[in-house]
Every structure is written in structure tokens, then in C-alpha cells.
């Protein structure tokens, strides 16, 4: 390790240089932040110019709340799940680009040796990589060599029953702590230098079917998490904890209780087991101090009988005040959902002139563009095969087709049980101004089952079957113009995949497939420029970082975290 003082000097050299070059866009930021695209674009330029002055690979300065807001100033780092608060999953690094991507080589792999899906997106802060793995493990690595610095393994109770794998998608960081939600429904803070537990709080009783799988989001001095468990008839919530102490500061109940607005959208007592988990990381607009979170299915997932009504705030985009948890507005994507169309896709903030928008390619097969100041829908347009809806209401919101509702005997529907996309992250590239998403073309036959509710037991009221008689299911990486919803290009996948997408200032998008390939594509055309066989399906969203002036791209697949770079 380089001595602290020396490292600080190096950092000052880099940031001093960056700050001087950034002053133009800084000025613009005073009224309202410049469109993030432009800022990161400048950031990339500045990074390249300053890289010669910066050689410090060691962890030094702490991550402050301000650094999180200004993450565009340090594109060599990846400070949160989606890379920045906008949910873009865009890296401003451009060293790896369309001209040289074909020469990418693996640099190192870190093996968790764990089974099951490896869904993490690592963080990288000043040369140290922080990530999670299956079964609630966490680790810090030297991001250059892949060598572990510390490893944490949670001792999980034997009777946890997370619905969909013993997965975790990553950490959040602030100060000298990294934060993690656990499968037994705790939120914990680990010492970023040792992995020691600093605090550990119980959010809720896991035995009732609750769990955490998402990467938390830090805003100001709070760590924000949403709960999983929509398979168990839970009651969903989003929590904020004091990063210093673990004290809970607020809880937003995603199913309104008696007397609260929206309570009337639930039949009888169905709200008590209404589900509406919030299991994917939100985004945040510092200009308006609003954080955007999305929610999952009403419970039971595939059986609407007994919960007549819209079932707020299931399958909804929520605009919350991060300091209080108070809701500013909401937009519900799927009303009275009977298909398990979770809206748990990272909400992506896009700025277009004076328009401040949120784009989402929803699990229900529609692409939505929403005004993020008001929550009003601008348009919705299918980006994959859709049969559950063939009409829209006066506001342009897709309406369910009654004849497609699940029945005891089974009824075919598109998208099927896993959705047109799922939790894997999309990306927005401010240079191409395109939105890239992994689309799944899979239809299923869904049949209902009048399962009674029992606390802690599965409660989704359904079975589903693949539609055998049709062509095999497939998927595609799709590039969509977010302002029109129109398809720009697609690259077909041999079978539906669970890989997220990264875009970079090098004119590239990175994504994986179910056959284990990790690929670099030309962001403008979709041409595949490079690929690597990981040996197992990619169930994660890639990211990029730089150390010592060298750019890397990382992705988890199988039991390994792979890192690639130029020779």
C-alpha cells in the first residue's frame, strides 16, 4: 500500500486537474445539473486528460455523499449499483472502444465457489473492488490483481426460503462502510477495510417470507433498501437507515393501510397479504431531491380473485423524498396484475432539453416514458411480444385483456412468467441517446390455484407451463430510442437471457447470454466486436472501472467474477 500522504497527493493531482477542467460544466450545474450525458461526456474527456497525473491504486479518501452525487467526476470508480444515481449504467471511460474492443483479454477471475446465480454488480472505489456473492457473502479485492483483501460470509439461518435463489446483487458504500441487505432480512454495515460488521439491524422477520436481495442505495446519510418476498403474501416496504448507526429513519409501506390513500384499491383484507415488494435498487435526482423506486407484484401473483381493485402500489414507480420517505407521486404500470409483472427494473433518468424523464422497459412488455416531475405518462409502446393487453386507457396506460386472465385450466399469455425483461439492468448511453435492454421472448400458459394464505408459506396461486407448441423461446438485446419507443437495432440471443447491459463512452455496449458468452457490441449498430465464453449463463449486470489509467470491464457468471481489459 502506498503511504496515506503520498496517495492523497496523487489523488489531489488527479482531482485538481479534473476540477479545473470541469469548471465549465460546474457553472452550468448551479441552476440545474447539466444533462448527465454531457457531464459524463466531459468527465470522460477530463479523465483521459488527467489520467497521466494519477497513479494511485489504493483506497484513500472516504466516499462522501457529495462524491456519490458527483460520481461523473470520477469515471474510474463505480460508486453504486447502477454506476450513478441516474440509473444509466453508463461508464464514461473510453479507453476500450470500438477500435480496440476485439483485443480484449481476461485479466483475472475471482471464484466464490458457490452454486446458484451470481447476480452481483461490484463497486470499485480507488482501486478496491467490493462485491457480494451467493449465500450472502461479500468481499473486497484488489481490483487490479483480483486478490482478496477481506471476505465476509453471513451465517444464515437454515430455514430461510428466498423465492428465487440465494442471491445478492451488490453493496452500497459511504464513508468507511459498505452496506448490504441479507437473505434473513437484516441490513448490515461492514467496515470497508476489514469486512468487520459495524452494525446489524433486523428489518423484519425473515420467517414470514421476507428477504433482501438488492444492492442498497445511499442518499445523504441514509442507506435505502427495499424488501423481497412477493411469493409469500408479505406486506412490502422501502426502508431508510442511518448509515452511522443503523437506526431506521423511515419506512414506506408499499401497500397502504386503513385510512391511507390507495387502501381502497384492495378488496377486503387482501391488502394485508398484498405483496408489492421493492427488490431492485432505485435511482435519485439530486436536483429535486427525489428518489425513484419500483415495486413488484401484488400477492398472490397469478390469482386476482379476492383482491379486486388496482392493488396500489404494486407494479408501481414511486417518487419519494429520500429524507422522509414521503411519496411525491406514483405511476402504476400494471393495474390489478395477474401475471407477476413486477415493475422491478431500475428506473432510468433521462434529460432531454427541459424535459426530465424516466424510462422503463417493463417486465410486462411495454416501454414507458414518464415525466419525472409529475409522474405523468408520456407514452407506452411494446418492445416485446405482448398479448395480455390490447388497449389503453385515456391516459395511454395499457389495460389488461380480460380474456387473457389466468384460469384454473390455464391460459396462454405473453410475456410469460419471467417477463419481457426482469431485474437485469438496462443501460442508457448519453452519446448514442439509446436505451438498451435485454428482452425475453417467452410466452407461458398460466393456471391458477386457489392456495390459502399461510404466513411464511408460498402464496402465489398459480402454476405455469411453457407453451410447447410454438417455436423455441428466444431473446434479444434491443436498442430503443427512448423518446419514441422505436426499435433501433436488435441482436438475437439463442435463448432468453438474464444478463444486464452496460454502455461505455468507448461506443460500446456489453452484455451476456444464457449460453455463457460475454460480448462487446458497437453501441451504434449492434455489431458484435468481441466475445468471451464464461462457461456459465450470465445472470448479472456488467460494470467498468479504471486503475492506473487502464480500463477494465467486469461481469459475474457462474461462480466467477471476470475482469477484462486490453492486453
Amino acid at each position: 500500500m502506498i503511504a496515506k500522504r503520498e496517495a492523497a497527493t496523487m489523488e489531489q493531482r488527479f482531482f485538481g486537474c479534473a476540477a479545473r477542467l470541469l469548471c465549465k460544466s460546474e457553472g452550468e450545474r448551479k441552476s440545474r445539473p447539466a444533462p448527465l450525458g454531457r457531464t459524463v461526456f466531459w468527465g470522460a474527456r477530463i479523465f483521459v486528460l488527467c489520467i497521466g497525473a494519477w497513479f494511485a491504486p489504493t483506497a484513500k479518501a472516504q466516499v462522501t455523499a457529495q462524491r456519490l452525487v458527483e460520481s461523473a467526476k470520477e469515471p474510474h470508480n463505480w460508486l453504486m449499483y447502477s454506476g450513478d444515481y441516474s440509473g444509466h449504467r453508463f461508464s464514461a471511460l473510453e479507453q476500450i472502444n470500438t477500435a480496440n474492443a476485439s483485443g480484449l483479454v481476461p485479466k483475472w477471475a475471482y471464484q466464490t465457489m458457490a452454486g446458484g446465480k451470481f447476480e452481483t454488480t461490484p463497486l470499485v472505489v480507488d482501486g478496491i473492488l467490493y462485491a457480494t456473492g451467493q449465500d450472502d457473502r461479500a468481499f473486497a479485492l484488489d481490483a487490479k490483481s483480483g486478490r482478496p483483501i477481506w471476505q465476509y460470509q453471513r451465517a444464515l439461518p437454515a430455514d430461510i426460503r428466498p423465492c428465487c435463489g440465494r442471491v445478492n446483487r451488490g453493496l452500497a458504500i459511504l464513508g468507511d462502510k459498505v452496506f448490504m441487505g441479507t437473505l434473513d432480512s437484516h441490513v448490515i454495515a461492514l467496515d470497508s477495510k476489514t469486512g468487520n460488521v459495524i452494525w446489524d439491524v433486523t428489518a423484519v422477520d425473515y420467517r414470514k417470507g421476507y428477504s433482501f436481495t438488492l444492492a442498497p442505495l445511499v442518499i445523504h446519510n441514509l442507506v435505502i433498501v427495499g424488501i423481497s418476498g412477493g411469493e409469500y403474501g408479505i406486506s412490502g416496504f422501502i426502508d431508510a437507515y442511518d448509515t452511522a448507526t443503523g437506526e431506521r429513519k423511515w419506512r414506506f409501506h408499499t401497500v397502504p393501510g386503513p385510512g391511507e390513500a390507495g387502501h381502497e384499491t384492495w378488496e377486503g383484507d387482501s391488502w394485508k397479504t398484498g405483496g408489492a415488494p421493492a427488490w431492485i435498487t432505485g435511482s435519485y435526482d439530486p436536483a429535486t431531491n427525489t428518489t425513484f423506486w419500483t415495486t413488484g407484484n401484488p400477492s398472490p401473483s397469478n390469482r386476482g380473485i379476492g383482491r379486486a381493485g388496482d392493488n396500489l402500489y404494486a407494479d408501481t414507480l414511486l417518487a419519494l423524498d429520500p429524507d422522509t420517505g414521503k411519496m411525491k407521486w406514483y405511476f402504476q404500470f400494471t393495474k390489478h396484475d395477474e401475471y407477476d409483472y413486477d415493475a422491478t427494473q431500475v428506473p432510468v433518468m433521462i434529460d432531454q432539453g427541459e424535459k426530465h424523464l424516466i424510462a422503463q422497459a417493463n417486465r410486462n412488455g411495454f416501454f414507458y416514458l414518464i415525466d419525472r416531475t409529475t409522474g405523468k405518462l408520456i407514452f407506452s409502446n411494446p418492445y416485446a411480444k405482448v398479448t395480455w393487453s390490447d388497449s389503453k386507457d385515456a391516459n395511454g396506460v395499457p389495460v389488461a385483456r380480460k380474456e387473457a386472465a389466468p384460469t384454473p385450466e390455464g391460459n396462454p399469455v405473453c410475456p410469460g412468467a419471467a417477463g419481457a425483461t426482469n431485474w437485469m439492468s438496462p443501460t442508457y448511453d448519453p452519446q448514442t441517446q439509446l436505451f438498451y435492454v435485454t428482452a425475453r421472448e417467452q410466452c407461458d400458459v398460466i393456471s391458477t390455484s386457489p392456495q390459502p394464505f399461510e404466513e411464511g408459506h408460498a402464496y402465489y396461486g398459480s402454476a405455469y407451463f411453457p407453451n410447447d407448441d410454438t417455436a423455441p423461446f428466444w431473446g434479444a438485446l434491443r436498442a430503443i430510442d427512448p423518446l419514441t419507443g422505436k426499435l433501433k437495432w436488435e441482436v438475437k440471443h439463442v435463448s432468453p437471457t438474464w444478463s444486464g447491459v452496460l454502455s461505455t463512452a468507448g461506443g460500446l455496449v456489453f452484455s451476456g447470454d444464457a449460453e455463457g458468452n460475454f460480448m462487446a457490441l458497437d453501441a451504434a449498430t449492434g455489431k458484435i466486436l468481441w466475445h468471451f465464453q464464461c462457461g456459465a449463463s450470465v445472470y448479472s449486470s456488467p460494470m467498468s472501472f479504471a486503475i492506473d489509467g487502464k480500463q477494465y470491464v467486469a461481469v459475474a457468471a457462474g461462480s466467477a467474477l471476470f475482469t477484462f481489459g486490453l492486453p
Binding site: R137, C164, G410
Partner: protein
């Protein structure tokens, strides 16, 4: 929330989930230990004959089992018909409990909790499912209505099944090995597969973590030097194709180097209509498959 892959390949987590994990901090846990106490489970179904429990078991069955075994437990393209009195992996309560909880290594039957269909079951819920299966299963082993010995003759003789299919090490390689098929598929599926082979293509390789198994698709390729080959797809990804040609030679190609690839879901297996295999003979062939499968 179903944030998971729930698809065809029940294999997905099977082998990996059996790995005992040891982490540097010394923590060790077993992924299959979703129900640790079940290893000491009682041998007798506590709910035997309880109609209410059978109903609850039906709900569990729908969520956790029906994807492969069909809505009424009558089997499908993936799992055996469970209404048969004779269960391949044991008829007793304890046998069925073990089969459900631990899966059957080497088959597509995954352990409880790793099916990727639903969230897994508690001990009580497994007994409910067993109660349900008991309530729908036949009272006695079905009388074989075909002549298995004659079926064997047809298989290796005039029906020429063995040109492409192997049973107990004898036969061809182009189609699936049928040694265990009789126990793993419903009778209806077997009949359908002979009469209409293209309706549902058989499944080939299932990769760990991959949701969908490769199917026995037909492929015709022309190599860069003009060589033409026809056969079945063994595996495929975006960049490569592995195939077996009709002479049972295995090839692997980089797709972009081929002059052409033509894939089809028209099975290479001929359609056996009444003329090529009448109902009686088909019954005999099915009887042979069932007899071999039961061994």
C-alpha cells in the same frame, strides 16, 4: 417477486447446489439444507388419506411440480406420469419423500427448493403433495396391454427404431437414448413422439444455470469448402454449433465460417403413421419401452 429463472432446465442448480461451500472465514453451509430436519423425517405419511391435505397438496403440486409432471400429475414432455402405481424411484412414503426432497441425481428431477419452480416446500408441504399423488394414482400397476417382446423385435427389426435410438447400449446415436424414457415420460407422450415426432422435439443437453435445454433440432450446413452435412444439433450458441451428422460423426463449427446453416424443427425422425407402424405394433413398442424403463 419471482426474480428468478423459472424455465425448462430443472438441472440448473442440481450439481452445484450439492457442493459444500467453505469460505475463508470458516463458515460452511450446504445449499441443499433447505430442510435439514427432513433427513430425519418419518417414514409414514402423517396425512395419508386426508382429503383436505390432498387438496392442499394439489396446490403445492401445481406450484412446484406441475411444470414437468403436468397439471393432473399425468406427466408431460418432461416428467413421468405420477398416476402410475409403480414409481421408478420407490413406492413407499419414505421413498417418495426422499425423491421429492433430494431429487434424483442423474435425472432432471431436482432437489426440493432447486426446481426453479416456486419457492420449495416445507416437510409438511411435501407430505401434502404425497397425499395428493396418492389420491390420483392408479390402484394397481397397469396391466401391460402390449407385447413387450414383440415390441423389442420391432424396435431392433422392421420398425428400425434402433437405427437412431439406443436402449441399454445397443442401437444408434442420432436420437435420444430411450433406456429410461419409458419411466420418465407418459404413455401419451411416447405415442405422440412416434406418431408426430416434430410436435415436441426431445431435449438434449441441459447446461448448469441455463434455463432451456437444447432440443433435437435438425440442421443442414454447407461448409466453406462446399461440404454438405445434415444431422441433429447437439448444442449451439451465438458463435458456434455442435452437431452430429447422419453418419454419427460429431462436428463443431464456428458459425461465421460456414457458407450456410439451415435449422429446422422438422424432426429427422420419420413420422410413423398407421401404414408404417399400426396401433397394435405401436402398443407393443410402447410396452417394450415401459418394460425397459421399469427395470
Amino acid at each position: 417477486m419471482k426474480n428468478t429463472a423459472r424455465g425448462f432446465s430443472a438441472f440448473a442448480n442440481v450439481s452445484s447446489s450439492r457442493i459444500v461451500l467453505r469460505f475463508a472465514l470458516g463458515a460452511a453451509l450446504t445449499l441443499t439444507a433447505t430442510l435439514p430436519r427432513c433427513l430425519r423425517a418419518q417414514d409414514k405419511n402423517p396425512y395419508a388419506g386426508d382429503a383436505k391435505m390432498a387438496k392442499l397438496g394439489e396446490f403445492q403440486f401445481r406450484s412446484n411440480c406441475a411444470f414437468c409432471h403436468g397439471l393432473g400429475a399425468r406427466g408431460g414432455g418432461r416428467g413421468p406420469d405420477l398416476t402410475r402405481a409403480q414409481k421408478k424411484h420407490g413406492n413407499g412414503d419414505a421413498d417418495m419423500f426422499r425423491t421429492i426432497n433430494e431429487g434424483v441425481p442423474g435425472t432432471a428431477m431436482p432437489p426440493n427448493g432447486a426446481t426453479q419452480q416456486g419457492v420449495g416446500m416445507t416437510e409438511e408441504e411435501i407430505w401434502q403433495v404425497i397425499t395428493y399423488i396418492r389420491s390420483v394414482q392408479a390402484k394397481a400397476p397397469a396391466q401391460s396391454i402390449g407385447n413387450a417382446a414383440h415390441g423389442r423385435e420391432l424396435f431392433y427389426g422392421s420398425a428400425a427404431c434402433s437405427t437412431c435410438h439406443m436402449i441399454e447400449g445397443k442401437g444408434g446415436r442420432l436420437g435420444p437414448d430411450l433406456t429410461a424414457t419409458g419411466s420418465a415420460r407418459s404413455t401419451n407422450y411416447l405415442v405422440e413422439s412416434v406418431r408426430n415426432p416434430s410436435k415436441r422435439l426431445a431435449q438434449g443437453i441441459s447446461e448448469a444455470m441455463k434455463e432451456f435445454s437444447q432440443e433435437y433440432e435438425t440442421v443442414k450446413i454447407v461448409t466453406a469448402d462446399g461440404t454438405k452435412l445434415m444431422g441433429v444439433v447437439l448444442n449451439e450458441d451465438h458463435f458456434t454449433l455442435q452437431m452430429m451428422d447422419t453418419r454419427e460423426l460429431v462436428h463443431s463449427f464456428e458459425k461465421e465460417k460456414l457458407r450456410s446453416i439451415e435449422k429446422s424443427r422438422e424432426s429427422l425422425m420419420p413420422v410413423y403413421d398407421q401404414k408404417s407402424l399400426n396401433d397394435k405394433d405401436l402398443q407393443d413398442v410402447v410396452a417394450y419401452l415401459l418394460a425397459v424403463g421399469a427395470q
